[in-house]
Symmetry: C2
Subunit: 186 residues, 2 copies
């Protein structure tokens, strides 16, 4: 394998190991086995499983999303929910991030990395949606992006990740977009 | 120790161990050590750490809450949020349940127990709040309790458990109650 292919194989193996056994039980040995490389190939690149996971999350976080810009607050919220529903069904969101949130209580380094991955990119997009809505007069000046993120993403996260209803009721995202817009404007 | 005291000491130790090391790393040995009893005292009562945790969650779930019945939908939602904000700061909610949700993907038995603990009691309370609001004409007939739970508890869960802002902004719960009522009525 080329050096870059080894790095990629290790990264892919970490995601798979995290989903399969979780952070607590994950080992460098297991990662190396899954990647089809020797343990030293892993240790040459990262000094511990923690640094591996942190590096991976940081790489994941960089892929920022553009704000939807549909021309209406409802349209933008509906588009955000579509992307979020897709992302929250991905193993990284449904399995890896909750796992790391649990670990975060014991490893404060993880908290910041998860925050950066899960929140900062979403926060940027929602902040843009809020600014656009304020400009169009759909939201009051001074509307808060963190509040908006809670109201838009919170119910969907609860339903998909906590309640674990992978199959949303028919029309759920349309209804949730309407409800969220009403909440944002309240 | 009396037999009942041993049982209680073990139950308390399980909660502490779950919070401290998590389900994956928790061992019967660690529980026994923390409880100040022998391993056989644990095994005499429960056959595995999984059956211990399931038993504990079931016991926790039984303590149902009465519906707030303040006489208005806003008052009821505000009261629910107060209780939820308190509960979501408890280690069982912030640490143990997310941990078990992660384990649930690997142990389907856990899914049902967590569901019963986290959802069924809350769902009952929210269903009553919705019924009361429909009777007063504050919500349309046929308003859905699961939708209400998503809209009321989702944003707070996101803020307290995912974003991990333990200190809510001043007036946050009042504002969230207003926003949730607007969402429920949308």
């Amino acid at each position: 394998m080329l050096r870059e292919d080894v790095t990629e194989a290790i990264r892919a193996a970490v995601f798979e190991e995290l989903a399969a056994v979780g952070f607590a039980r994950m080992s460098i040995e297991g990662i190396a086995r899954r990647a089809g490389v020797g343990k030293t190939a892993v240790y040459r690149r990262w000094k511990s499983k923690l640094s591996l996971v942190l590096d991976l999350l940081t790489a994941f976080a960089v892929e920022g999303l553009p704000a939807p810009a549909t021309g209406s607050l409802y349209g933008d919220v509906r588009a955000l929910l579509e992307v979020a529903a897709h992302a929250l069904r991905h193993p990284v969101a449904s399995q890896v991030i909750p796992d790391l949130l649990v670990e975060a209580a014991r490893h404060p380094e993880i908290t910041e990395a998860v925050r950066a991955t899960l929140l900062d990119s979403q926060r940027g997009v929602v902040a843009q949606v809020v600014r656009d809505a304020v400009e169009r007069g759909e939201l009051a000046r001074g509307a808060d992006a963190d509040r908006a993120l809670d109201l838009v993403v919170g119910p969907l996260y609860w339903r998909l990740v906590v309640v674990r209803d992978a199959r949303l009721p028919e029309g759920y995202l349309d209804d949730l977009a309407h409800a969220s817009v009403a909440a944002l404007r309240a």
